[in-house]
């Protein structure tokens, strides 16, 4: 068996691997006109990526969330969306209701 990696070395590499994206963004942004079409397109790309990430977390979760069923998660989100539309885009109410629904479904369904 090989020696386990030093956790601090792992953290250093992980931190660098993340910060490089933030830094690259800051440097690239110099060339982008906030009134221009490229800016609008990049905004769409960023939002689409984040929506894809959240949908992935809901549909194919990793870790403990994977212990709940897909149906529980989808039903809870549907309840939240219904309230979101009913209360004219009240996202906090929608978040709270869907989380409570999710908790109850997860706790009390087999």
């Amino acid at each position: 068996m090989t020696d386990p990696l030093n956790i601090y070395l792992v953290i250093l590499c992980a931190v660098a691997a993340t910060y490089i994206w933030r830094l690259a963004g800051v440097l690239l942004a110099k060339k982008i006109d906030p009134e221009g079409e490229v800016f609008i397109w990049l905004g769409c790309v960023a939002y689409a990526l984040l929506a894809g990430l959240m949908a992935r977390v809901m549909i194919y979760p990793v870790g403990m969330l994977a212990e709940s069923s897909l149906l529980d998660r989808l039903l809870a989100m549907a309840a939240g969306f219904a309230l979101f539309i009913l209360l004219k885009r009240n996202f906090m109410a929608a978040t709270m209701v869907s989380t409570v629904c999710f908790y109850l479904l997860f706790r009390f369904t087999p």
């Binding site: 993340t18 690239l28 689409a48 990526l49 929506a51 992935r56 929608a94």
Partner: protein, 240 residues
């Protein structure tokens, strides 16, 4: 008191913007980061990572998917190269996010030279919020506001990591899973508040394409999803 009014005016203005941002962040957004980091803290403790290393990871990476990828791969004994690449892929979203964020700020702002540090407190929360409120404030006020807002979330996030580390194993499974669910649910509803038709199209397409593309390639699925869905959303709903 009026010996040097101008510099005092400028620096106090920056401080005012930072404080205003910090106050705005110190409510629901910071609470959400707090809750998200609880799960991370518990995971770190369960894998035998010290509190100090947990905080260092949370503060240094400050992006949950990358933090979780790092811990999980470290626990399985993956090589340093594999861990580094996995973390980079998991947090790649920060590139388009910071490219979109930076042009909102004023290069003449005194804080502008600190943007390399400010960008460290960029999370989905502070980014989304900044994009939503940017048009309501002068360009010179934005970086201060963003930094304050981000610092609020960051600070509570670190408190969340400590809380999770200390509470590991004491919360019921149902409660822990519900807390994990809270975060993506919050972001999904927060995104849906957007009123820009291009963004709404991109969000819908991204949500549809994200899961199948992830199945197709866990590493490249998300960047691909951003490019395909974002470009389609941009082109489909473009107003002439």
């Amino acid at each position: 008191m009026s010996l040097s009014p101008e510099p005092v005016e400028i620096s106090s203005t920056s401080a005012t913007h930072i404080i205003r941002g910090a106050k705005a962040g110190m409510s629901v957004p910071a609470f959400m980061v707090f809750v998200g980091m609880i799960g991370f803290g518990s995971l770190a403790k369960s894998q035998g990572v010290s509190l100090f290393a947990t905080l260092l990871t949370g503060a240094g990476i400050y992006g949950l998917p990358g933090q979780v990828a790092m811990l999980e791969l470290y626990a399985t004994g993956a090589s340093l190269l594999v861990i580094t690449i996995a973390v980079a892929m998991a947090n790649m979203r920060f590139l388009p996010m910071s490219v979109v964020l930076m042009p909102l700020f004023d290069p003449a702002d005194k804080l502008y030279r600190w943007r390399f540090l400010s960008v460290q407190v960029m999370s989905i929360n502070s980014w989304t919020h900044m994009l939503q409120v940017a048009s309501d404030m002068p360009k010179s006020a934005r970086l201060g506001f963003f930094t304050g807002f981000g610092l609020s979330c960051f600070t509570l996030g670190m408190c969340g990591a400590v809380t999770g580390w200390l509470l590991a194993g004491t919360l019921s499974v149902e409660m822990t899973v519900a807390l994990i669910f809270l975060n993506p649910a919050y972001f999904i509803f927060l995104f849906c508040c957007n009123r820009n038709i291009n963004v709404l199209c991109s969000l819908a397409l991204g949500a549809l394409l994200g899961p199948p593309l992830y199945q197709f390639s866990p590493d490249w699925g998300l960047p691909l999803c951003g490019l395909i869905a974002g470009t389609s959303g941009y082109l489909l709903c473009r107003k002439k």
